[in-house]
């Protein structure tokens, strides 16, 4: 993809101006450093007050000009004698600036994107000077003639590949991990109990908005019926679908898996020290993701579901002072609230 982008950018520089779309897309995170400018646009002159700043990956981070190190996109400077499209990038690979140059001067459209690919500014330059168009930037069209205002935006073409792609704001594939503090309120035949504990998620993004989640959780009772001490270790496999692409976005999920449940029988009775079983955990829920940094996201979620006993072991029942014997480790309804952080590259 990087090679294709480079080639098309070079080709575009030699073709008639402007074939870009009116609504730019989010820059590609995988654009190679060679896409800074076409090879044919290599600097011809040396009198330049501007300097490129590169990321460790080799991509251009910024072009800074003058003694004040002011970004080139602000105009007023000449960057060598370049003619063509110049892209700068964020550290994570997303496009930061799209600069159109002619003979080293800004001449054409100049766009600035935020780290997730949203267009935050579009201005037009002519011979290094910013133009006050007084019209929305969507006026450019492929049929616009050179020399007219819109076409002045486009002395060089910007190929679709060079345009930022919104879907590419985050990697389509990737593995991540999450750590959550979970609390669950469950109700079974014996009563209602509260459990707290940590959870570890392993996430695999298989589509831009779809992730597979492997979750291992440890839950320990902190409140409930007297002497009801229980530990649950659910291991579930689930799907998570993110709704939207904003920095704070909701998601829905569903999961299924086994849950090892163990409870201590009170009274230090050697003949019956504890009871354990396997339950089937099935749940669905929703949550909210919010970006902390480029790779770290906080999340808050609510999962609702049930746990169902699946083994054939004799189930212990306890007769309360009044009423029929009740099962202490049986089917249950569970509501889980989770708060945590996740990391995805």
């Amino acid at each position: 993809m990087g090679a294709a982008l480079s080639t098309s950018t070079v080709a575009a520089a030699a073709e008639p101006p402007f074939v870009g779309s009116a609504e730019p897309e989010v820059p590609s995170a995988s654009a190679p450093s060679s896409a800074v400018v076409a090879p044919s646009l290599a600097p011809l002159a040396v009198e330049s007050s501007c300097q490129q700043v590169l990321h460790p990956s080799g991509r251009v981070a910024a072009v800074l000009c003058g003694p004040a190190k002011q970004p080139l996109r602000l105009g007023g400077h000449r960057f060598e004698q370049l003619t063509g499209t110049l892209l700068t990038y964020y550290a994570h690979g997303g496009v930061h600036e799209l600069l159109t140059l002619r003979d080293g001067f800004l001449d054409g459209v100049v766009e600035t994107y935020d780290p997730v690919g949203h267009l935050i500014e579009r201005v037009v330059f002519a011979k290094g000077e910013q133009q006050d168009l007084g019209v929305p930037p969507q006026t450019a069209s492929p049929s616009t003639a050179e020399g007219e205002t819109p076409t002045a935006l486009s002395p060089v073409s910007v190929s679709p590949e060079a345009r930022p792609s919104r879907a590419d704001a985050e990697p389509e594939l990737g593995l991540g991990i999450g750590l959550r503090a979970g609390s669950s309120v469950s109700r079974n035949a014996y009563g209602t109990f509260l459990q707290l504990g940590p959870a570890l998620d392993v996430l695999a993004r298989i589509m831009p908005r779809l992730s597979v989640e492997l979750r291992v959780e440890f839950q320990h009772t902190v409140a409930g019926p007297v002497d009801y001490r229980r530990i649950d270790v659910p291991v579930t496999l689930g799907l998570r679908v993110e709704l939207g692409r904003s920095t704070m976005r909701p998601y829905v999920l569903a999961g299924l898996g086994p849950d090892y449940a163990w409870r201590k029988i009170p009274g230090d009775i050697a003949a019956q020290p504890s009871e354990s079983t396997w339950l089937l955990d099935a749940h669905a829920g929703f949550g909210l993701l919010g970006r902390v940094s480029q790779r770290v996201t906080w999340l808050a979620e609510l999962r609702l579901g049930g746990r169902f006993r699946t083994d054939d072991k004799t189930r212990l029942r306890l007769t309360e002072d009044s009423g029929a014997p009740v099962e202490l480790l049986g089917n249950q309804f569970t509501a889980q609230l989770g708060l945590g952080l996740q990391w995805m590259p």
Binding site: A181, H220, D268, Q272, V296, P325, L328
Partner: protein, 355 residues
């Protein structure tokens, strides 16, 4: 950010709690007391034999009482055949070789193994010839063991004089050749309201015996409400009452702790062993509960729908009972563990650890 993560992880683990932090076992030594165990019968099964042969058991027990001899309606004492008596002598010798003092306890039953009714027993003891025969047979059996105990079923209140009389006769015939003991009901008052309690004149009986074993068992036998087989407060009350009645030195006093449990239902009460109780609980899927007094219990339902409530003690419960009455009962009061074979298999090793 790293601080946030660190604090988050710390909080998670703090909230998770600590698993398995139960109470530490109570390993404090118990008050030293002489201890005996009662075996129902004249023979030992393999389990009982193994238990009595174990080093831990020999460290705990001083005496073994075989509830073996039977006073019959004709005044004879079973077993009567020479082979059985020979086997009994062999058994007592074997037990003595383990360091135990071995005693034979005498009960009174019909040939089909049912206790004599109070009237039947009164009839036997009221007949001087039958009483004399019984006395002479006990004299002949005395060399087989270290001591003899009377463990008779209840007499009617009118048998008070006869009982005291026979005790005097036995004492004269057997002592000091052997030690003589008496199984007394758990009296807390005189005259007693217990079945057979009215026939027991403690002050009159005391001079005739070396040991009085107070049957502080079946605490919940008679109130139509299921409950524990013994209770430390009650045991203390009985022991203190009897000591006050007869003096603290002679005869010696033992209290009794049952090793068996009791299954209560509308059909009546049935003694059950610890292992049977555990089996019933497991088979019926019942969680066992420990009562505040330490005893274990659960209820269960027969396939026919009959309701049962089962109470029993494990090693922790029995040790707990002792620990509760230890401060209140003198150390010269011994313990008779009633029903060898019905106990929690861990009992004697646990008791040994607390000597």
């Amino acid at each position: 950010m790293s601080n946030i993560k660190t604090h988050t992880v710390a909080l998670l683990f703090a909230l998770s709690g600590v698993v398995g932090c139960g109470n530490a076992p109570d390993d404090e030594p118990l008050k030293p007391r002489r201890a005996a165990v009662l075996v129902e019968g004249c023979t030992l099964d393999d389990w009982q034999h193994a238990t009595l042969s174990a080093v831990e058991t020999t460290q705990v027990l001083d005496e073994v009482v075989l509830r073996c001899l039977v006073l019959r309606q004709d005044g004879s004492i079973a077993p009567t055949d020479s082979a059985a008596r020979s086997a009994l002598r062999t058994l007592t010798a074997a037990l003595q070789s383990h360091g135990y003092q071995v005693g034979l306890a005498v009960t009174a039953q019909t040939d089909d193994g049912v206790d004599h009714t109070p009237a039947q027993l009164l009839g036997i003891l009221s007949d001087p010839s039958l009483r004399s025969r019984a006395t002479s047979e006990l004299v002949s059996l005395a060399p087989s063991a270290n001591f003899l105990d009377l463990a008779l079923p209840p007499l009617p209140d009118s048998g008070r004089g006869v009982m005291t009389l026979w005790a005097t006769e036995l004492s004269a015939a057997l002592r000091p050749m052997t030690r003589l003991g008496y199984f007394a009901p758990p009296l807390t008052q005189e005259p007693s309201e217990l079945a057979g309690g009215g026939a027991v004149d403690l002050r009159a009986l005391a001079p005739s015996f070396d040991r009085i074993r107070l049957l502080t068992t079946d605490y919940s036998c008679c109130e139509q409400v299921a409950g524990p087989t013994t209770e430390p407060g009650w045991v203390t009350e009985v022991a203190q009452f009897v000591q006050n009645r007869i003096g603290a030195v002679r005869p010696e006093i033992d209290i009794t702790l049952p090793l068996y449990g009791v299954d209560f239902s509308k059909r009546g009460q049935r003694p059950v062993s610890y292992l049977e109780a555990i089996g019933v609980a497991q088979h019926n899927g019942r969680q066992i509960k420990r009562a505040p007094g330490g005893s274990l219990h659960f209820d269960w339902t027969e396939p026919s729908g009959a309701q049962h409530e089962l109470w029993f003690d494990d090693a922790a419960a029995t040790i707990g009972h002792q620990r509760r009455f230890d401060p209140s009962i003198d150390s010269n009061v011994g313990i008779l563990y009633y029903g060898l074979g019905a106990e929690d298999p861990a009992l004697f090793s646990e008791l040994s650890r607390r000597r």
